[in-house]
C-alpha cells in the first residue's frame, strides 16, 4: 500500500485524475489502469459527488461518463469549466455517437473516448489531456513572468536613463546661475539651448516609458465607470496656460452632464492631453482648438478640431506610428509618441480614432468610444 503511495508522489507530481462514472466496473478498471502510471486517482459515482470532489481536490483531468442517471452531463461540464477552465474534461460515451461527443466538446470538454475502450486507448487520451494542461499552465506562468520582467525592465531603465539626465541638468543649472564662475551672454545663450534640448530628452524618455508601460491587457483589466466629461474638462484646465502662451483659444462644447462610460481614467486623461496638446502646438497664433463631446449613433464621440497647419494627405495614415513626425516640423517640440500612445489607449478601449486634415486650414481628430 505504502509503496503505491510513494510511487504516486514521485512520478505523478500534480497529476490528479477524477473519474466520475456510475458504473463501478468502469471506476475500478480505470483505477487499475492508472495505478501503474502512478497518477493519483479519485472516483465519484454521481454528478453531485463528482462536482464536490472536483471543487475540493482540484484535479488536473476528469473522466466523465456522459450518460449518468440524475445528471446532466453538459451542465456538469459547464460547471467544471466555469470553476477551472484549465481542468481537462474527457467524456466517456457509451453510445458510440459522435454527436454527443461533439456537443460535449462545444460545452467545453477537451476530448472523448467511446466504450468499449482498451487500456492503451484510455492511457493515450489521458496523456494527451495532461500534456495540454501542462502547456496551458506553462503559458499562463510565462505570461505573468513576461509582465513582471517588463515592469522591472521599465522601472530599471527609467532610473538608469533619468539619473544621468538629472546629473547633467543639475550641473547645467549650477553653471547657468553663475554659481561656479561668471559667464558671458554668449555662453549663457549656448547653455540655454543645451538646457532646452535636455528637457526635450527627458520628456522623450518619460513618454517612451509611459508608452512601454501601457500594456493593453493592463488597461483593459482596470476599467471602471468614469466621468468622461470631467476628464476632458480637467485636461482643458491643465492646458489653459500653454494655450495662452501660444495665443490659441480653447473652445469647448461639452454638455454639463453626460452618462458615465466604462474606461480607464488615467490613460484616457493621457490620451486626450496628447491630442489637445497637439492641437495647441501645431496651431497658428489667434487660432483655436474646439473640443466637443456628444453621443453620435450610440458611440461616445469626442472631436478635437484645430486651426493649425494641417497634415499632408499622404501622411495621414502614418501619423499614429511611434516617433513619426512630419518633416519640417522638427522645430516644434515633441517626442513623436503622443499620437501612438493615444491610439494605443483608444484601441485598448475598443474605440476608434480617425483624422481629417487640410494643409494650412486645420485638422479634426474624431475619437469614438463604446
Amino acid at each position: 500500500m505504502s509503496e503505491i503511495q510513494t510511487r504516486t508522489k514521485e512520478t505523478s507530481g500534480e497529476n490528479k485524475i477524477l473519474i466520475i462514472d456510475d458504473e463501478k466496473i468502469i471506476r475500478e478498471s480505470c483505477q487499475e489502469i492508472f495505478d501503474l502510471n502512478g497518477y493519483q486517482i479519485l472516483t465519484a459515482e454521481d454528478g453531485h459527488t463528482g462536482l464536490d470532489l472536483f471543487q475540493k481536490e482540484r484535479p488536473d483531468l476528469i473522466l466523465l461518463d456522459l450518460k449518468m442517471p440524475d445528471c446532466n452531463g453538459m451542465e456538469l461540464i459547464e460547471d467544471i469549466n466555469a470553476n477551472d477552465p484549465n481542468c481537462m474534461v474527457i467524456i466517456i460515451t457509451g453510445y458510440g455517437t459522435i454527436e454527443s461527443a461533439v456537443e460535449a466538446m462545444r460545452y467545453g470538454a477537451y476530448d472523448y473516448i467511446s466504450k468499449p475502450f482498451t487500456p492503451d486507448e484510455l492511457r493515450f487520451v489521458v496523456r494527451r489531456g495532461l500534456e495540454k494542461r501542462k502547456l496551458v499552465l506553462e503559458a499562463d506562468k510565462l505570461k505573468v513572468e513576461k509582465q513582471t520582467l517588463r515592469e522591472n525592465f521599465v522601472s530599471l531603465v527609467s532610473h538608469e536613463l533619468r539619473s544621468p539626465l538629472s546629473a547633467i541638468l543639475q550641473n547645467l543649472m549650477v553653471i547657468n546661475e553663475g554659481l561656479s564662475a561668471e559667464i558671458s551672454p554668449q555662453v549663457r545663450n549656448i547653455l540655454d539651448k543645451i538646457d532646452h534640448r535636455m528637457r526635450g530628452l527627458i520628456k522623450l524618455v518619460s513618454d517612451w516609458l509611459d508608452a512601454s508601460r501601457m500594456e493593453e491587457g493592463e488597461i483593459i483589466r482596470s476599467m471602471n465607470p468614469i466621468d468622461i466629461q470631467s476628464i476632458l474638462l480637467d485636461v482643458i484646465d491643465l492646458l489653459k496656460p500653454l494655450a495662452r502662451e501660444n495665443h490659441v483659444e480653447l473652445k469647448c462644447d461639452i454638455p454639463e452632464s453626460y452618462p458615465m462610460i466604462i474606461g480607464n481614467a488615467e490613460t484616457l486623461h493621457m490620451c486626450f492631453t496628447n491630442l489637445i496638446h497637439n492641437g495647441i502646438k501645431f496651431n497658428r497664433p489667434d487660432g483655436f482648438v474646439q473640443i466637443t463631446l456628444k453621443d453620435e449613433n450610440r458611440l461616445n464621440t469626442v472631436t478635437i478640431q484645430d486651426t493649425g497647419i494641417g497634415i499632408p494627405e499622404d501622411k495621414l495614415t502614418m501619423i499614429f506610428e511611434a516617433f513619426f513626425r512630419c518633416s519640417g516640423e522638427r522645430r516644434i517640440n515633441g517626442s513623436g509618441l503622443g499620437l501612438s500612445i493615444a491610439k494605443k489607449v483608444i484601441d485598448a478601449h475598443s474605440g476608434n480614432i480617425t483624422v481629417q486634415s487640410k494643409c494650412g486650414e486645420g485638422t479634426i481628430f474624431t475619437v469614438q468610444l463604446p
Partner: protein
C-alpha cells in the same frame, strides 16, 4: 555656526553640483555615497538636515536608511533630524510618495524631484529647518505621558478608542506621539 547638511547620494556628478549650490549659500555640506556610509556619517557629523536620494545601491537602500535613522532617534533625546528625499522618479510613484509624506510609512519632511532649481532647493531646506526649530520650541507642550522623546510640531488632537468606545478628549501632541497612538489603534484626529 554654519548649518550642516548631509547629502546621501551615489551619483558623484549630481552630488558635486548640489554641494556647489549649498556651499555658495553658506552651508557646510557632507556627502556620503551609500546608505551604509551615510548612517556612519550621521553619528559622526550630526547634521541639521539630510538630503537623501531614495534610490541608492539598490531599490530599498533609501527606505532602509530612513527606517534606521528613525529607530535610532527613538532612543536619543532631541535627535530628530529632518530628511528631504531627492528622486528622479516620476508621476505614479512620486505621487504615492508625496501622499505618504509625514506618515509612519514615510517619516520624512519633504520630497523634491531631480533636477532641482538651486533657489527652490534652498527655500525648501530653510523651510524644513525653520519648522523643526518652531517644533522644538513647543515640544515642552506635548501632553503625552507615555513617550519619552518627542519630535515634530505640536498640534491639538482628539483621541478616541474605537474598541472600547472611550473618548479621551483633546490633547496637545507632538507629531511622534500622535503617530504612536495611531499605530496603537486609536483614532487620532487633528483639530
Amino acid at each position: 555656526m554654519k548649518t550642516k547638511i548631509q547629502l546621501v547620494e551615489d551619483d558623484t556628478d549630481f552630488s558635486s553640483a548640489v554641494t556647489m549650490i549649498l556651499e555658495k549659500r553658506g552651508y557646510d555640506c557632507y556627502t556620503a555615497e551609500s546608505a551604509r556610509t551615510g548612517l556612519r556619517m550621521v553619528n559622526e557629523v550630526n547634521p541639521d538636515l539630510i538630503l537623501l536620494d531614495i534610490m541608492l545601491e539598490d531599490r530599498s537602500a533609501g527606505f532602509r536608511f530612513i527606517q534606521n535613522i528613525r529607530q535610532q532617534q527613538s532612543y536619543e533625546a532631541n535627535s530628530h533630524i529632518p530628511i528631504i528625499i531627492l528622486s528622479s522618479i516620476k508621476h505614479g510613484m512620486a505621487d504615492k510618495m508625496k501622499n505618504r509624506l509625514g506618515t509612519y510609512l514615510l517619516p520624512v519632511e519633504d520630497f523634491i524631484q531631480k533636477p532641482v532649481k538651486p533657489d527652490m532647493l534652498i527655500d525648501r531646506i530653510q523651510k524644513v529647518i525653520q519648522e523643526k526649530k518652531s517644533a522644538l520650541e513647543k515640544i515642552g507642550d506635548c501632553e503625552c505621558t507615555f513617550e519619552k522623546n518627542h519630535y515634530g510640531p505640536v498640534r491639538r488632537y482628539h483621541v478616541y478608542d474605537p474598541v472600547t468606545h472611550i473618548d479621551y478628549g483633546e490633547f496637545n501632541y507632538c507629531e511622534k506621539c500622535a503617530m504612536s497612538d495611531q499605530i496603537r489603534g486609536f483614532v487620532v484626529r487633528m483639530l
